[in-house]
């Protein structure tokens, strides 16, 4: 009886506690505002200023104002079409797509959706596309930060943006071996709107990084001095003022955004790497296929240089202390020691996730993050993987690349069938 009333009291307390918690409420996990790239800010300070020195705080609001004028807000995105209706950037991004992906999640009476990005992407990639959504810290690998403008799985070489088709493939297929799921069930127009929204966030982030990079070259003066043309007393600006203002606009926005960033995103299809046809031996039923795989194995150890990172047996135990570019971007700053969290506390304080080494892929599993079609593997070898240590194999002929692809595809099945003479040429044995 006594036990009963005690437990009843216990439940009552819990219920009251829960109710109280519910009443106080929790802050929304991420309010719909873009986040400032503070990691880049801290990095630029460390690169260009003496210890303890800081850029003027005003610059943060100035960058925010320029960014908002050009790209709008998460609820009301816009895009700078400098040449009006004639602007070739209309092929890259359409305002309709942005509206569909942006804003709060809802479906109206005619079943046209908005807020797709917040519904499907923001919890991992963040409202800003900074790869720092609520779940980010607990995912391995971390969700992609779009702001560097780097994409791993694409048909174009390094520094060339992916095509819409490349991004669509990722959305449709997901990325096996990571937390990125497939969005195969979404209708085509919704996928397309998300693809364009990812490009929007990427260009936005690239431009913000550019602006932050410019700070070191300033000496207290603003990036764009609006007071030159918008006189506080309402007076007419002089001709010199207008000319000076236009120079600033061309330098910051014309050169920094239009030429450096948007122009590169125009027609990425022209940069797509040609995939040469595979030789007949690539076919698993061809009588010379076994020799072809053997040739691929020799290349794996010699010309391909693959074992340096992926290990002699392909389990990915070669180089284990490299970092990817998204991490290298800030850990290369002076005095950062990845083994000592106190050495990068100032970066953690503004949201940088703890650095984790990049793992060379274990090739004995049949998971290929960028797709398991032979063409996908061919592209990874030919172009390398942007943002990672995986280099491009310019020295190999297309037949040689196909041989390595054949060997890599055979790897998951080799251990059990390999006879003694086919053991790795290098005697380092791996136990794990």
């Amino acid at each position: 009886m006594i036990g009963n009333s005690v437990s009843r009291l216990f439940y009552q307390l819990i219920c009251i506690g829960t109710a109280l918690l519910g009443m106080t409420g929790c802050e929304r996990s991420e309010p719909p505002v873009f986040r400032f790239n503070s990691v880049e800010w801290v990095k630029q300070e460390k690169t260009h200023l003496a210890e303890g020195e800081h850029f003027p705080e005003d610059y943060k609001a100035e960058i925010g104002t320029i960014m908002t004028a050009l790209f709008g807000t998460p609820d009301d995105p816009t895009f700078p079409f400098f040449l009006g209706d004639e602007d070739p950037a209309h092929d890259v991004i359409s305002i309709e797509s942005l509206r569909m992906a942006a804003g709060p999640t809802r479906v109206d009476k005619r079943e046209s959706a908005t807020g797709l990005y917040r519904e499907h992407c923001a919890h991992c990639h963040g409202i800003t596309g900074n790869g720092a959504g609520d779940t980010a810290a607990s995912l391995e690998p971390y969700p992609r930060d779009f702001r560097l403008g780097k994409f791993k799985f694409k048909s174009t070489p390094l520094r060339s943006p992916p095509t819409d088709h490349d991004l669509t493939e990722i959305l449709v297929n997901g990325i096996p071996g990571s937390a990125m799921p497939s969005f195969r069930t979404l209708p085509e127009d919704q996928i397309q709107s998300l693809v364009e929204y990812v490009k929007y966030l990427t260009m936005r982030g690239q431009f913000e990084r550019f602006l932050l990079g410019e700070l070191a070259a300033l000496d207290g003066e603003p990036l764009i001095d609006l007071s030159l043309v918008d006189k506080p007393d309402g007076g007419e600006p002089s001709e010199d003022d207008v000319e000076e203002f236009e120079d600033q606009m061309y330098a910051v926005i014309g050169e920094g955004l239009q030429e450096r960033i948007i122009a590169r995103w125009l027609k990425p299809e022209r940069k797509v790497t040609k995939i040469e046809a595979a030789p007949p031996e690539f076919d698993i039923q061809h009588q010379a296929h076994r020799q072809f795989v053997q040739k691929g194995r020799e290349l794996y150890f010699a010309k391909g240089n693959c074992m340096q990172c992926h290990g002699d047996t392909g389990i990915g135990d070669g180089q284990l202390n490299n970092f990817d570019d998204w991490t290298n971007d800030w850990i290369k700053s002076a005095d950062v020691d990845t083994a000592d969290p106190t050495s990068y506390a100032d970066f953690s304080a503004v949201g940088a996730l703890p650095p984790r080494p990049v793992k060379p892929r274990n090739l004995t599993h049949r998971y290929y993050r960028g797709g398991d079609h032979p063409d996908d593997l061919y592209l990874r070898l030919r172009n390398g993987i942007e943002g990672t240590p995986m280099p491009a194999s310019t020295a190999m002929t297309s037949d040689e690349i196909w041989a390595v692809v054949a060997y890599v595809r055979a790897m998951p099945y080799l251990d059990s069938t390999r006879d003694e003479s086919e053991k790795p040429v290098n005697e380092k044995q791996v136990m794990r």
Binding site: T47, H48, Q319, P391, A392
Partner: protein, 267 residues
């Protein structure tokens, strides 16, 4: 008599040829020499760890010292970029001297020798071909990452690969790395404006055929960033490490010895 006349003629010819070749009408040169004042930073041994290619990478059986700051016995500093400033608000010439036209057609070699990039610092023009060479008996990769350029090429042992650089220009040098041997690093500047000189082993630099006029020049080193504390007689570098120089037609502007305090090189 004839002999004296001939010698004089030859001398006059040489002098005039020299000025024709190196300081033509409307163009001038710039020279100087960079020396560290006080103590140069001491280079630490490279972080080779237990890399499996240790045998190839050691020099005389020992772990090599980092080559971040290279000075000779007179403390003269190598690898300083002296370059016409092309950053924000810069005034730059519209045309370059024709002698630079051939530069883009020359193939530039970047070698790997005992797990070290040779040369440590280089300058290339957009569209130029780079030969990525590997003289070592181990594989390397060559990762070029500047503001505007990016390449990551696998280079087979004792072999070479060629790449053609894109058309974009950088404002400051970027880095070259090898992911397999992470202590390996080099610097490269890729830009169209050819008025760049990298100080040699004696700290000397020379930029030829600069259009006559007032131009800003910048001093930059990997370990010091913008060298704002460099001492140039008669000039006061700003926070970007730039000074404005007047280049006179047919003349060589000699800056003489430029002293750089050793504590500027700590990055």
């Amino acid at each position: 008599m004839k002999r004296v006349f001939f010698c004089t003629l030859l001398f006059v010819l040489c002098v005039s040829m020299n000025s024709l070749l190196f300081a033509q009408d409307g163009w001038g040169n710039l020279t100087g020499q960079i020396v560290i004042s006080g103590d140069a930073p001491v280079n630490q041994p490279e972080d080779v760890k237990d890399n499996s290619d240790k045998a190839v990478c050691l020099i005389d059986g020992k772990v090599p010292l980092d080559d971040g700051v290279v000075v000779n016995d007179k403390n003269q500093l190598r690898d300083v970029y002296v370059m016409m400033y092309t950053g924000r608000g810069a005034d730059t010439p519209d045309t370059y001297h024709p002698s630079y036209d051939a530069q883009t057609k020359v193939k530039l070699t970047l070698d790997n020798v005992k797990c070290r990039f040779v040369p440590k610092a280089s300058f290339a023009r957009p569209g130029q071909t780079l030969i990525l060479k590997n003289s070592d008996n181990v594989g390397h990769n060559c990762r070029i990452a500047t503001m505007e350029h990016e390449h990551n090429i696998n280079i087979v042992k004792n072999a070479e690969s060629e790449i053609v650089l894109g058309e974009e220009s950088d404002k400051i040098p970027g880095e070259v790395r090898c992911d397999i041997h992470q202590w390996m690093d080099a610097i490269i500047l890729i830009r169209d404006n050819p008025y760049v000189s990298i100080s040699d082993k004696d700290g000397k630099f020379k930029i030829e055929n600069i259009p006559a006029g007032d131009w800003k020049f910048q001093f930059w080193h990997k370990k010091g960033g913008y060298l704002k504390t460099i001492e140039v007689k008669g000039y006061e570098p700003d926070r970007r490490g730039t000074i404005e120089l007047t280049i006179k037609s047919g003349e060589t502007l000699e800056l003489g010895t430029l002293a750089l305090p050793g504590d500027a090189l700590t990055k």
